[in-house]
């Protein structure tokens, strides 16, 4: 861990201003990912801005009939919220599928969106990684890739995004609210929030330097059957090989987002028209253009079969 300076921000706009003033500054909330990465010198911020006391920890109804989730709402609290459990079951289930009870007690909504990949080569500082050290190359390509991306990857990076929560939010069409250094706010649809790696895998989100997430809003409830199915090598406390977030209506229409397959939660809205015709057709469309490795090609079959299982349960 490199030495760093620390301050506690007084307001969201102050935090954003402070961050834009100091190159190499990072916000810290739960710290469940950032501190680990700092110990390994994968993250080396010179300055930390503590945003824990900004009061962004409420869950409130929106005038449109949706829900506004403060950036600092802890994963445990969000999963336990009665409105989330009743109206956004896919989100509650996704949260509880992630990490462990202790981590969920600390981890925040915004921090969960911003967690970084678990690619083992990203974590080993003796290995080249374009995400960790832009331009150094990608050791994962051609290496151990069983966990890594099957679609939307690039010649520079085949990492996946590790979040469960974000996959459910992608299915729900959540919107990320932010504030910038100049005090201006903006609303970023979650579909545009996480980026594909392209040539710049170190740029992971649409956030600008110093821009602070203040909340995530959910549109009014969709109804339907909510499922979050996370498939992994052990029963708990593991990252997804594949996960399926689905909201399925009585008529068989619905929405599907995937975790564990790409650099961001993966959803192809146009493919959802195939859902009433079954998992095989739908998943073929969702994963059209996939380029798996020989070690992770099973994820294509797994995604299809997991979706089939989810649809079967939705039908009752």
């Amino acid at each position: 861990m490199r030495p760093f300076t620390y301050e506690r921000a007084a307001s969201p706009a102050d935090a954003a201003r402070a961050a834009s003033r100091q190159p190499g500054a990072r916000f810290i909330a739960g710290g469940t990912n950032l501190l680990d990465l700092m110990k390994l010198q994968i993250e080396t911020p010179a300055h930390l801005i503590d945003v824990n006391r900004l009061g962004l920890d409420r869950i409130e109804p929106t005038p449109e009939g949706g829900l506004r989730i403060g950036a600092l709402v802890r994963n445990t609290d969000l999963a336990a919220d009665a409105r989330v459990r009743h109206d956004y079951g896919v989100l509650a289930r996704a949260l509880l599928a992630g990490a462990s009870g202790q981590l969920r007690n600390k981890a925040t909504t915004a921090g969960n969106l911003l967690q970084r990949t678990r690619c083992p080569y990203f974590y080993d500082t003796a290995q080249p990684c374009n995400k960790r050290q832009p331009g150094s190359g990608c050791a994962a390509i051609g290496g151990v890739t069983r966990q890594l991306a099957v679609i939307g990857a690039s010649e520079a990076c085949i990492a996946t995004h590790p979040s469960d929560m974000a996959v459910a939010m992608r299915a729900l069409d959540a919107v990320v609210e932010t504030v910038r250094a100049d005090g201006a706010t903006r609303r970023i649809p979650i579909a545009e929030f996480h980026r594909l790696p392209g040539e710049t895998p170190h740029v992971e989100t649409a956030l600008e330097a110093g821009e602070l997430i203040t909340a995530v809003t959910l549109p009014p409830p969709l109804g339907g059957h909510h499922a979050y199915r996370k498939v992994r090598d052990r029963a708990s406390y593991a990252f997804a090989l594949v996960s399926v977030a689905a909201v399925v209506q009585r008529d068989g229409s619905g929405r599907v987002a995937l975790g564990g397959v790409a650099h961001r939660p993966w959803r192809v809205e146009a493919a959802e028209a195939e859902l009433p015709r079954g998992a095989k057709r739908a998943m073929a469309a969702i994963l059209d253009g996939a380029r798996p490795t020989h070690e992770n090609a099973f994820k294509l079959t797994l995604a299809e079969r997991t979706l089939a299982s989810v649809l079967a349960e939705a039908r009752g």
């Binding site: 069983r146 052990r234 708990s236 797994l302 997991t306």
Partner: protein, 739 residues
């Protein structure tokens, strides 16, 4: 004392304390966090500075240059010692890889520097400032690719197990060719990590030429000897102390870089130094269970009797390394006149392969007991019946050598009844519950019982209490407790009158903890010392030692009763002895047996396997403490589930290292993976084993579990996966189409 004739009756047989399921005597210390582990011994040496070990970033080659200027100038740094500062150090007798010194890199994360600083954070930060230039060399990292170059090799684990390079009885090839029913299949097991909770950790302090290390070691005498040898100093100048150990599983049998670099760092800093290996270093810097590729051939008559059995195993290791003895159990487990076992070793440039819980048998039975399941199906026999038909009460290679005790058949029969084996469908893939396919599997468990010379010192105090000292270790197994139980039984005392002190090289040399020999061997050593103490007490109190009874804190004979403490006098009374063994192990085959039963559910859509219930029925001699023995067995069963379903060090075959070198990437079972577990111990004593009539049990618990899980997966799905771990991707393409 020498144990060279079968035990007759002795004070242990009273079973007033021994054999009782008493709580761990060190339990309160552990549960209150007051049992200090190596890294927490803040009081043993003054001015402890912090060390941080830097591992090499290449799999094979040389260190061309190291720039330490920035690290040395970093805040708080006291000393930096690099591998280029000294020629290659000596090597301990038990080590394969060199631990430090010189430019050559044998494997990834080999230690290349230690940084000593005022704080851990400063040491870690400075270590990251060291710039190292390497010359990479091509390495051999792919076991299957190296197979053609592998050579026959014998093995001696150094902790009692071993196997010749090739072993033949009868005419295997002829009998196999003529057998009515045959099997010829290949199985593979991956590299595995011990993944113990406490990392390797040491505090080192020098006083002149004298070095003390407070460390985490299963084998005190080996560690002391090998540290001295590595540093090139006399063994008498080294003291090893390791009273509490947070798990070892074989990973702490041998001297590792933590002790060497703490000693070197302390020397350079002129201060005591504490350091722990970071989690990423444990996979690649220390040892692991090596991967195997095993070919098994079995030939049998239509009556199910095995006429030919062959087991050949390939594994890899660094130069001067040894093969994994995966064929050991196949020499002894089943009858059959024509037999062949062989070990082949390929040279690999991966980190050192070495002992991990039940080395040999654990991966060997994962293959053999799956082959037995497959063979039973080919014969149209129940897998239990097939094993019973081929039971043997003598060493199949030497019919004149009986097993001292062999209750395998009883284990299987009792297990079948308790587990509800009759509810298993002989045809796989028949039982479905919702989206889950459910199946039952079983396997025989087998692990040899080793006995090791072990010494102890027992001191009687004036208040009638007793202190036992031995360099035996408690790696979480319960050694403290069974040693206290032994001394209490022998001296006629309640448990709370016995104090046990372990893990210090100033104490008499014991068996140490490994090869499941520690429980029986170390208590036998305490028995020997107590016999001596009883004689001394009797002498002092004027009793005929043959007549004296030690009970309730009194020594009694006839009408006379004297408090035990009276024999101690002012100075106390001390006796020291060790238990040595004659040739009983040659005249009798001593082994432990189990029947393992597992029910799994496999998700019909995703192929996820979840264990639902497990049962182990164990025949392992006298159980000294059923509570701690049960803990050993359920822990081992858990490890067996990990081996069956998830544990695998993933090899980067280009760069030569284990990629998933942390506990997020190397998955072991979590609570949610482990269902209802039940353990039954058969009521057994083995007078051939020791005066304790006990045997090992801590490794028996894992032996066979992996195959029982695999066989249950087969029973659930009809799919046979011969390549461990059985992850869902190996089932997925063959699972039934979904509606």
């Amino acid at each position: 004392m020498k144990f060279d004739t079968p035990a007759t009756s002795n004070p242990i047989d009273q079973l007033r304390v021994v054999g009782q399921p008493v709580d761990r005597i060190d339990g309160p210390l552990k549960t209150t966090g007051t049992a200090p582990y190596a890294y927490e011994r803040h009081d043993v040496a003054r001015d402890q500075a912090y060390g941080y070990v830097l591992g090499a970033g290449i799999g094979k080659g040389r260190v061309a240059a190291m720039d330490t200027a920035a690290a040395k100038a970093a805040p708080g740094v006291i000393a930096v010692v690099t591998t280029l500062d000294m020629p290659r150090l000596g090597k301990g007798e038990m080590n394969t890889a060199f631990l430090f010194g010189g430019a050559e890199i044998q494997h990834y994360h080999q230690a290349i520097a230690v940084v000593v600083a005022e704080s851990f954070e400063q040491a870690r930060d400075a270590a990251a400032m060291i710039r190292t230039r390497y010359v990479r060399e091509p390495g051999r990292f792919d076991l299957a690719a190296e197979a053609p170059k592998a050579q026959l090799a014998s093995a001696d684990s150094g902790e009692g197990s071993g196997a010749p390079q090739e072993d033949r009885t009868g005419d295997f090839e002829g009998a196999f060719a003529q057998a009515a029913v045959t099997l010829d299949e290949t199985y593979s097991t991956p590299d595995e990590s011990h993944a113990m909770m406490e990392p390797h950790a040491t505090i080192a302090a020098w006083e002149g030429e004298k070095l003390t290390v407070w460390t985490s070691s299963q084998m005190i005498a080996w560690g002391r000897r090998d540290l001295a040898k590595t540093l090139g100093i006399p063994a008498e100048n080294v003291r090893f102390d390791s009273p509490y150990i947070g798990g070892g599983f074989g990973g702490k049998l041998f001297l590792r870089a933590d002790a060497v670099l703490a000693a070197l760092g302390a020397k350079a800093a002129g201060r005591s130094v504490k350091l722990a290996l970071t989690r990423p270093l444990i996979a690649n810097n220390t040892t692991h269970r090596p991967a195997t590729i095993q070919r098994i051939r079995i030939g049998a008559g239509r009556d199910g009797r095995i006429t030919a059995i062959a087991h050949e195993s390939l594994s890899g290791d660094l130069p001067e390394g040894q093969p994994e003895t995966a064929v050991s159990q196949t020499r002894l487990l089943y009858a059959g006149a024509n037999r062949l076992t062989a070990l082949r070793l390929a040279v690999l440039d991966l980190p050192e392969g070495n002992s991990m819980r039940a080395p040999g048998e654990a991966p060997g039975l994962m293959a053999l007991e799956m082959a037995m399941d497959e063979m039973a199906e080919r014969l149209g026999m129940d897998p239990i019946d097939f094993r019973i038909v081929n039971d043997t009460q003598v060493d199949p290679e030497h019919a004149e050598r009986p097993f001292s005790q062999r209750q395998l058949v009883q284990c299987l029969r009792i297990g079948a009844e308790r587990f509800g084996w009759n509810r298993r469908s002989a045809t796989p893939g028949q039982r479905r519950e919702g989206q889950w396919l459910v199946g039952l599997g079983m396997a025989a468990g087998f692990r040899n019982n080793l006995v090791m010379k072990s010494g102890a010192r027992v001191r009687l105090h004036g208040n009638g209490a007793v202190t036992v000292e031995t360099d035996m270790t408690d790696i979480g197994t319960g050694s403290y407790t069974i040693i206290a139980q032994t001394a209490a039984e022998m001296m006629g005392l309640p448990l709370e009158k016995v104090t046990v002190r372990l893990g210090d090289s100033d104490f008499p040399v014991s068996s140490g903890s490994g090869g499941q020999f520690g429980g029986n061997s170390s208590t036998a050593g305490v028995y020997a010392a107590c016999v001596k103490l009883r004689e001394a007490v009797a002498r002092r109190l004027g009793f005929n030692s043959a007549e004296a009874r030690f009970e309730g804190g009194q020594v009694r004979a006839g009408n006379r009763s004297v408090p035990l403490g009276q024999a101690a006098g002012e100075a106390g009374l001390t006796a020291e002895d060790q238990m040595e063994y004659g040739d009983l192990a040659e005249r009798y085959q001593q082994s432990t047996f189990a029947g393992h039963f597992v029910e799994v559910a496999v998700h019909a859509a995703t192929g996820e396997t979840r264990v639902r219930r497990m049962l182990a029925v164990c025949a392992a001699g006298r159980i000294l403490n059923p509570k701690s023995a049960r803990s050993q067995v359920i822990g081992a069963m858990t490890m067996g589930v990990g081996a069956a379903l998830m544990e695998e060090l993933a090899v980067d075959k280009r760069h030569g290292f284990f990629v998933n070198h942390d506990l997020a990437g190397y998955e072991v079972p979590v609570h949610a993976d482990i269902p209802h577990q039940e353990v039954i111990f058969l009521d057994e004593t083995d007078p051939i084993s020791s005066p304790m009539k006990a045997k090992g049990v801590g490794e028996l618990g894992i032996c066979g579990v992996g195959a029982a899980v695999a066989n249950a997966v087969y029973n659930a799905t009809g799919l046979r996966v011969r390549d461990y771990p059985i992850t869902l991707d190996k089932l997925l393409d063959r699972l039934p189409e979904l509606a």
